[in-house]
Amino acid sequence: MAPLLEWVFSGKGLSVAGALAIAVIVIASEVLGNRRRTNARNVTAVPITPRQKQMRTGALMALLLIFPLLLGTYVSEVLDQVGLYILMGLGLNVVVGFAGLLDLGYVGFFAIGAYAMGMLTSPELGLASLSWWTALPIAVSITILAGIMLGVPVLNMRGDYLAIVTLGFGEIIRLLALSDALRPWTGGSQGIQLIAKPVVGTMVLDNQLKLYYLILAGCLLAGFISSRLRDSRLGRAWMAMREDEDVAQAIGINLVATKLLAFSVGAAFGGLSGAIFAAKLGAIYPNSFGLLISINVLALLIIGGMGSIRGVVVGALVLVGLPELLREFAEFRLLVYGALLVVMMLYRPQGLWPEDARKLEAHEDDGLSGDSSAAPAGRIIEPA
């Protein structure tokens, strides 16, 4: 295993030979996979038995558990970042994907989670020196509160207007963290250092590998909650609201409660991600919470498939994982982002791995607003 790894990775990134090899493998599997899928389309799908499903889940879990052990620190670091983005993606997916509320300031919740964790645990500020686990529920509660505070003023806003206000919200949070007035609490441009690390038993989770398991647990929890919510009464209300707010109201859905719950759940996942992020770095600075994070999270939703939980995982792997591995081409990262988004919108507007029901429709996808009535008729693209 080790010589193979050395061949694929050199120093801090992929070697050229390794990159080529991976590209060939990915393309080949995609081409072969496509061919198989085309064949499979003519055959009635065989339903997976619960037992098979259990075995698959078991195998996947085992893989997730041993994967970073085999691949070492660098891959763990990448997976940590992917995991933090998956957490944020799952949160934003509730807000944008399920409820159709376009939020461009999602980084605000990530920042609030991180700062709450910093303020509650760092002895440097002298506010409180709680342990990470004690501070966690408080930090998440604060983020949920922030979600509701953002939600109340925007209850009557839709589409573009909502997007602009949330965009402002994200920036306001960053500027507050940076401001001199709040320096005693947030540390201003100096940020907060000495943030507590999570401790499990006697083990301090202080390296990428140990944190990987914490992040994995967080992602599994958030994924589980998401999937249960999606199939719940509340999830249905979110989707009805996404499709048509007026009709949702006309069939008896309480829009106020439904919207605020979407913002709260979204905020909670973002806050959790922020709290882990703060512990991982041990120090946070206002500039770690720029607009680009909001955009990245939204982009990964679009790439993976809006409203799709597994799509979030795929999107995060593609948008965060690959550029991390392709460090050598780092300058072109944004260019690749842009190009990828354009290509996605043209050829696969439903995302890489959408929910099953979405695959059936003629893809009159309208990107973000979720208002299908606004989509021009006749923009029908065959599924790839």
Binding site: R233, R236, A237, M239, A240, E243, D244, D246, V247, Q249, A250, I251, G252, I253, N254, L255, A357, R358, L360, E361, A362, E364, S372, S373
Partner: protein, 212 residues
Amino acid sequence: MEEGEIVTLIGGNGAGKSTTLNTISGLLKPRRGSIRLNNENLGNFKAHEIVAKGVVQVPEGRRVFGRLTVLENLEMGAFTRPSRSEIAQTLEQVFTLFPRLKERESQLAGTLSGGEQQMLAMGRALMAKPKVLLLDEPSMGLAPVLVDSIFDTIRKLHALGTTILLVEQNARMALQVADRGYVLQTGEIILTDKATALRENESVQKAYLGVL
């Protein structure tokens, strides 16, 4: 309105027909006056509470949840009702009324034809077991054959005892199914009578029925 009757609101563009319906269902707030259901002022309730009280609107323009299936759309209609067995029962009734929807059960609503979408919108409202059904322009943009079938359905619902408030541009059809009618012009009720009498009324004939 009396229980079990069909009342129609007719009038030209901008007369305030849809506004009246939206105010009844709580999507808009009344500036003055009040809306009463069994002596309860509906103006004091939010839209979702009014649905729970049994006043359900079928909005104008066949607004179905395009990216949900037909069945999911219907289930959403029963959002305010707690009992699963009762919902299943209503679902059967809706499918009896609209056999077409049963055939298309698992299809995405956005891929249905215009007439089918109108049936779905009505079926969805019926899932809430409304005491009063508010229909906003059910014939809008439909082929004449489909308009006939929609009005047949309205007659069937009437026969089943549903109270219906029908807003229509198609005054001729509306006055044929209705018991009573109100003629609305720029927000004022200018005329009210039995539907049969309105059909005979000269000025109504001129203005809305196209009789010279």
